[in-house]
């Protein structure tokens, strides 16, 4: 496949920290509308990969193209986000002093320039959308609570909600179900499946039940590069993957 047809194109991306190679010539293609699960041992470089895509970390070498043309390595975080790349962080980070509602309002897709936000008023559509997201995340009763007073799991949900509110073309979701009950995990899987198709999604998770539920192509990362790729069943059977990741 050529770079032009991809939504996200990573080629030969390397990052090192004080000599430690966190990403080692990583290559990865995501098609428009595709959902991809990424698994791999702790420290394999999954989060670092997201950092590199979203502009948080500059790669030492390698190409990263969005929609086949935009070179992400030259851009700053906000610019990348505005291209339509949204992210949920591994450690939930929300605006603790804002209410749940305001967190979503800030994330909501809308013009991002200062003067526009100065004169912004919540439209009916926006209100409906936020209500919708509050329902999905079951945070409706806590809409007026300060996000800082949410429990760990609730913050996870809020982050997912914010990601939905952003309505990005590509969603990077780092460990969305960590700290969720099994039922919530299922719900999250459904949610992501709904989103995929219209949007592209990259999900990182260690919960194999969840990954299985997603039923999508899986990429296994190890020591900063791709170890295996294919269906979950296929990679699960890979001896190397069992050795470094799944265990017995």
């Amino acid at each position: 496949m050529s770079a032009e047809d991809t939504l996200l194109y990573l080629d030969g991306v390397s990052v090192s920290f004080d000599g430690f190679r966190a990403l080692n010539s990583l290559s990865l293609l995501i098609e428009p509308g595709e959902m991809r699960a990424i698994i791999g041992p702790n420290g394999a470089g999954k989060t670092t990969m997201m950092d590199v895509i979203t502009g948080k970390t500059r790669p030492d070498t390698g190409t990263i193209l969005f929609e086949g043309k935009t070179d992400l390595t030259a851009m700053r975080e906000a610019g990348i986000a505005n291209l339509g790349i949204g992210r949920k962080f591994q450690r939930p980070t929300v605006f603790e002093n804002h209410t749940v509602w305001d967190n979503l309002e800030l994330a909501l897709k809308a013009p991002r320039r200062p003067l526009k936000t100065l004169t912004y008023a919540v439209s009916r559509d926006d209100r409906v959308r936020i209500e919708e997201i509050l329902d999905i995340t079951r945070l409706s009763p806590k809409r007026e609570r300060q996000a800082g007073s949410l429990s760990h799991g609730e913050k996870q949900w809020l982050e997912i909600g914010m990601l939905l509110a952003q309505d990005p073309k590509l969603l990077l979701v780092d460990e969305p179900v960590a700290g969720m009950t099994d039922a919530e995990t299922e719900q999250t899987a459904r949610l992501l499946k709904d989103i995929a198709g219209k949007h592209s999604v990259i999900v990182v998770e260690h919960d194999m039940v969840f990954v299985r539920e997603l039923g999508v192509k899986v990429t296994v990362l190890h020591e900063g590069s791709v170890l295996a790729e294919g269906s979950l069943d296929a990679v699960s059977a890979n001896q190397q993957v069992i050795d470094v990741y799944l265990g017995r």
């Binding site: 906000a78 986000a81 992210r87 603790e96 804002h98 309002e105 991002r112 200062p114 912004y120 007073s149």
Partner: protein
């Protein structure tokens, strides 16, 4: 759209504050000019000047609270903008002295004459016009803040690093203005003003006029600031304060937001300085001293950071305390004031205005019940 925007900021607290300011704007002129000097209701020029000074400081505190309370930029150099505004006004006032200076030079201020300057430096031109000076009052601090912020925010200087370079900025300005070669009167600064817009600067009516102008400026500043804070832009600012990098990942260019608030704040500080100078009668480089900026931070902290009204309250209270103690306890007032600061931090962690909120939280009231886990019904 503009009215809607401005109305945003007008909650109950704002109503009270604006009412107090309106009262001041009416009562002070009446009491100062309309009563006999021996009447119990009379306000002396001393009191009017004091009140005016407090309110100028309040405007500075307000400006500072906007960036510190809402954007998290702890500026230890805000006095720089205040003082620059003050100098711009001071230059206008100097030019108004005309030939009434001690050497009778119609163009050159006295300090230039006795330091043997032969002509007015270029940057003094235009300041004989009020409109020009008025523009400079906002433009100079604004431009400096813009340039400074442009570089600092783009370079992602944050936290104490930003604080310290703001301090370096004001310190450098102080040293520069101390230099007689700069042409701003060196350590003595600018003083001995005669008139403003043709009015005798010492006349009681002029003083009252300046006071009213200050009240109006403060009111405008407050409405502006609280509207901004209540808008979505304000929410972005607070988000920047709490988790700047997270805001970037939502697609906001945080530099622009900071720059906006920072520059606006500097302009407000400049206006405060400009109103301050004719009322206290002198502007000199020690206003640039880092301690002045820190004091402004203290006012905000005492009143309650991130409350706007608290900044105003803090500035007035602390300065009133200073005026009072320096006369009542001239040798012990530092204990009183220093002790006050310590006590406020210990017992009013959110400042004076925070006290109310704190009390509300302590006593479980109806609002608090709503937050109980009980309403956390599953779907």
């Amino acid at each position: 759209m503009l009215t809607r925007f401005l109305l945003l900021g007008l909650d109950k607290k704002a109503g009270v504050l604006l009412a107090v300011l309106a009262l001041l704007a009416v009562a002070v002129p009446v009491m100062a000019l309309g009563t006999a000097p021996d009447s119990a209701w009379h306000l002396s020029t001393h009191t009017v000047a004091l009140l005016g000074k407090y309110l100028c400081f309040a405007l500075l505190a307000l400006a500072l609270d906007l960036v510190w309370g809402y954007v998290g930029i702890l500026s230890l150099g805000h006095a720089a903008f205040f003082t620059l505004g003050g100098y711009a006004m001071g230059m206008y006032l100097m030019r108004q002295i005309g030939p009434r200076g001690v050497y009778g030079n119609p163009i050159l201020p006295d300090f230039m004459v006795f330091l043997n300057w032969k002509e007015l430096p270029w940057y003094w031109h235009g300041f004989d016009q009020f409109w020009f000076a008025a523009i400079m009052v906002v433009l100079v601090p604004g431009a400096l803040a813009f340039a400074f912020g442009w570089f600092a925010f783009r370079s992602r200087v944050t936290g104490v690093y930003l604080s310290i370079i703001t301090q370096a900025l004001t310190f450098a300005l102080m040293l520069a203005f101390f230099r007689n070669d700069m042409g701003f009167g060196g350590n003595n600064g600018l003083t001995d003003f005669k008139e403003i817009l043709g009015f005798d600067i010492q006349a009681a009516s002029t003083r009252v006029g300046l006071f009213v102008a200050t009240v109006v400026a403060l009111a405008i500043g407050y409405v502006l600031a609280s509207s901004i804070v209540a808008s979505k832009l304000g929410k972005v600012l607070v988000a920047v304060r709490d988790a700047e990098s997270r805001v970037r990942f939502l697609g906001y260019e945080t530099e622009r937001y900071k720059l906006f608030a920072w520059t606006l704040s500097a302009c407000m500080a400049g206006v405060a300085g400009a109103l301050y100078v004719p009322q206290v009668g002198i502007i000199n480089p020690s206003e640039f001293s880092p301690a002045s900026s820190i004091e402004a931070v203290i006012w905000v902290a005492v009143g309650g950071r991130g409350t706007l009204a608290g900044a105003i309250l803090g500035a007035v209270l602390v300065n009133f305390g200073k005026s009072y103690f320096t006369a009542a306890l001239p040798e012990l007032w530092l204990f009183a004031l220093g002790g006050l600061f310590v006590l406020v931090t210990l017992f009013l962690p959110k400042g004076i205005l925070g006290l109310a909120a704190q009390l509300r939280q302590r006593l479980p009231s109806r609002g608090a019940v709503a937050a109980k886990p009980a309403d956390q019904k599953g779907v």
